[in-house]
Symmetry: C3
Subunit: 373 residues, 3 copies
């Protein structure tokens, strides 16, 4: 990594939730569209943002440009190096030890798991997007009567090679649903309706709850998109606090619930991680976007979240820059916060090292399983 | 301005939402009542607040008193100078380049647009308060059948000389309404009910939606009061995130949606500005009240709000002090945040100057229109 | 107090809401369970938290251990000294001038008021938990017809020796209830249902509202648990902003409404304190848990809360450590914030001292009554 020295002590960094990188090149429009969660066109230039400044400051040197290079220079140099070299440079600069990759969204445009792992110099594991499995079962021609068992079987089968399951209930409906597992009768009735009129993504609340509980049944850690995301969601209906009932309902299952992103509701998410033994939290995605403010986000989460419940993720999608920036912001945030505590006499140096390692990798290693990662 | 040197580089500062100044003097009770959004009487002295300290610190020198002058000295000196001189001093101290003024609230107590502009040494433009137009049409004796067209015509006519429209739906009902334009049949039925029993401000949700969409039809930027305000509103029902559906519904109209104040929901408002191309945001009013914490509020908004979507407003009402303090806090907040980024190596100096100018005036100039401002 | 010098100028510190200390010893499991609001078992060690680090840093020296002593050393030394000595040391270290104690929760495990006062070297006053009174009346064998008057009489009688009333409506139902006083007919009907099936704590919303208004009728300050607490509550339904209607309904009663804890909704609580003359706020409990971040919480509350409306509480329960840490964090938070304003020229030294004294004790003294405290 070019730039300021990195004083993070633990080299291990597990990215417990990301996507893969674009396989091909990105022109200015495509690059800009991936630099925002927003709809386009917009009245604002995506480079004029905390994230845009971060790309010019921290990624430019990785591509041999001076810090703060203009966006046009950056895009020209990026095109000149080509996608493979850009990806290789930025992913290795991220220093990530392992990547857990959601393979269920726009995967045809992205590098496969093996290619991503090679580019990053780190193993890549599959995170199984539950709604995509249900949609694939539906596309395969299942009837309403067979729907519950067929989806359950497909999830169970696909989970054998996955590191985690993931739900995008936040996007498809919002968390304002009954948290309980629906009965097979309810599922069959809902499947009858949805399969008949099916023209888009799975958005029936009963079927969304059904596949979510199929995920619980796998015993794998269950990741949930919460908070910050694109305008397909209602942000306030993706507030993780609305999962309180689901956290209660899953407390006795032994399954780890992993709340992703959470911003700007990360203090509420931290409360869930505080009071429910099996709930974990990260501020991925947001920490990349907010640039220098990442340390504030981490500080807000660590106010009441137990140190053993906070993890690192990038939620990077498409642009190799996002993996590098996520790792850089996370490392600096941990450093700012914990080393600040050490300097203020609030924490001893060995504790700082230990807590840093927990959040960066050890918590993920424990949750997702020794022997798996 | 007396006090600490002002290192803000761009002199241009467009206040895209304010009210006018009291025409007459204010005794201690009247001054105190304008120094809070709260009901009176209160168990607390309004001077014992971040805003009260700010008046004593930053306005006292403008009236030739030492910083931190006692409240009683301040009020005595204010009375001695008289309202015209106090207004002239504090408004010119604010260094505002242009003022966009909501003329629809308690306007009989306040200076007219021309007088305000003269006192400030800057042009003042009218912001048209939509609900007031509808109430004026009702007061003029319209029947239910004519109500939809009469209100629409009045809004269109008044808009010809206005710089923007403004809605106080937050106060009159809250944002928990259907965001869609109501049909004429619905409006006529609602008008029949409201006109019959009319005894106070417009508060029927159908009629509020109707006049809001009349505002959209003008094509002018549409300002919405959101968040922080007085106890006539339910704060949580004024959360801008509840406008998500309205943002979706207006995305294709070409109208700029301007979310005012937003505190303490400004991170949620920033998400709306991030994901919807036409949505803009400010932290006016709150930034004045919170005093030294204004830079934190701005930092929180700029976490994910694009720099091209953030504007300055004072939302000052009645007291000339509020214009000066709003401008002072805003300039310092921008300085603290952006110059902090420069010092930390996160942003280059030309970017800092450019972004500062965007937020202070250029975004407003672009949204409200060259040729108008 | 051992540790960093305490530069807090006012020695007076009124803890306007706490519980009592465990009467007996606490083994590692019991200690850990009291170091979190969370359910056990958890995937995380309670010592690995901002609060856990605080105990090791700031309480260890009070027990003659070096700062940052390992948790096992701390627990061993604690056992060696015995509960009486540990309690005496940590409570006197807290430097609290008076304690207002909720006596209605798990009181059989805790020191009585007199014992607590002796250990703290400070007078202890009773805070009357309203729901407990209603449950005691029910346990005494009242019928539905007598229920309204019997509960009202019991509250009035018990209130004669109490400093305040307290409601845990947040735990028993949430604030999403009609804020109005229920009629006697409604109360009798609800009492009929609840008394028949009674098997646990009072959770009927009509009866909860009834006893809440019995509390209002006493004229004593009314404390309400809001925000941060254990998983028996739904955090978002304990958001104090949902008390807006209740604040309106009580505005004319002359009763002070005291919003306890509030985190992470303390900015919304501060708005209530800003706009309603009789509403007060604290960030107790949370300020202890978040450790070095307590000054941020206080800063967030003082953004718009009038200085005359903010109080100190520990909400400490069970562990003597929590009284010491609450006082220490509060003193440092006030110091960080107000002395920061002084250094930045935002406030004069006499104002800093005066505001400090207000928040630490004078506001409590004024609200709860000279002649009582």
């Amino acid at each position: 990594m070019t730039g300021a020295p990195d004083r993070f002590d633990s080299p291990a960094l597990i990215d417990h939730h990301c996507h893969s990188v674009l396989a091909g090149p990105a022109d200015a429009a495509a690059f800009g569209a991936l630099l925002t969660e927003g709809a386009t066109p917009s009245w604002a230039d995506p480079f004029d943002s905390a994230l845009g400044l971060s790309v010019r400051r921290w990624c430019a040197p990785v591509l041999d440009l001076p810090p703060h290079a203009p966006a046009s220079d950056y895009l020209a140099r990026r095109a000149e190096l080509g996608p493979a070299e850009v990806t290789r440079r930025l992913l290795t600069a991220s220093g990530t030890t392992a990547l857990f990759v959601d393979t269920g969204f726009r995967s045809s445009e992205l590098l496969g798991l093996a290619e991503l792992g090679t580019a990053a110099g780190a193993p890549a594991f599959e995170v199984l997007r539950l709604e995509t499995v249900a949609e694939q079962v539906a596309a395969g021609g299942v009837g309403p009567a067979q729907y519950p068992d067929s989806v359950a079987a497909a999830v169970a089968s696909r989970a054998r090679t996955a590191i985690a399951c993931k739900s995008v209930l936040a996007y498809r409906h919002g968390f304002d649903v009954d948290p309980a597992r629906p009965t097979d009768t309810e599922v069959r009735a809902a499947a009858g309706r949805w399969l008949r009129g099916r023209s888009g993504p799975l958005d029936d609340p009963v079927l969304l709850r059904h596949v979510l509980w199929c995920g619980v049944d796998t015993g794998l850690p269950l990741q949930l998109h919460t908070g910050f995301g694109d305008p397909d969601e209602d942000l306030h209906r993706a507030n993780p606090i609305l999962l309180t009932g689901f956290c209660r309902a899953t407390a006795a299952t032994g399954v780890a619930v992993m709340l992703l992103h959470c911003y700007p509701y990360h203090r509420e998410a931290a409360w869930l991680a505080h009071v429910f033994g099996h709930v974990h939290v990260d501020v991925g995605l947001a920490a990349t976007y907010v640039g220098p403010r990442a340390s504030v986000l981490l500080a807000e989460v660590l106010e009441i979240a137990p140190f053993g419940k906070v993890l690192y993720s990038s939620d990077a999608f498409g642009l190799a820059e996002l993996y590098h920036l996520a790792a850089l912001r996370f490392r600096r945030a941990v450093q700012d916060l914990l080393d600040g505590w050490r300097r203020a006499g609030e924490a001893a140096e060995p504790d700082v090292h230990r807590i840093t390692a927990m959040i960066a990798a050890d918590n993920a290693y424990r949750v997702y399983g020794p022997g798996r990662v």
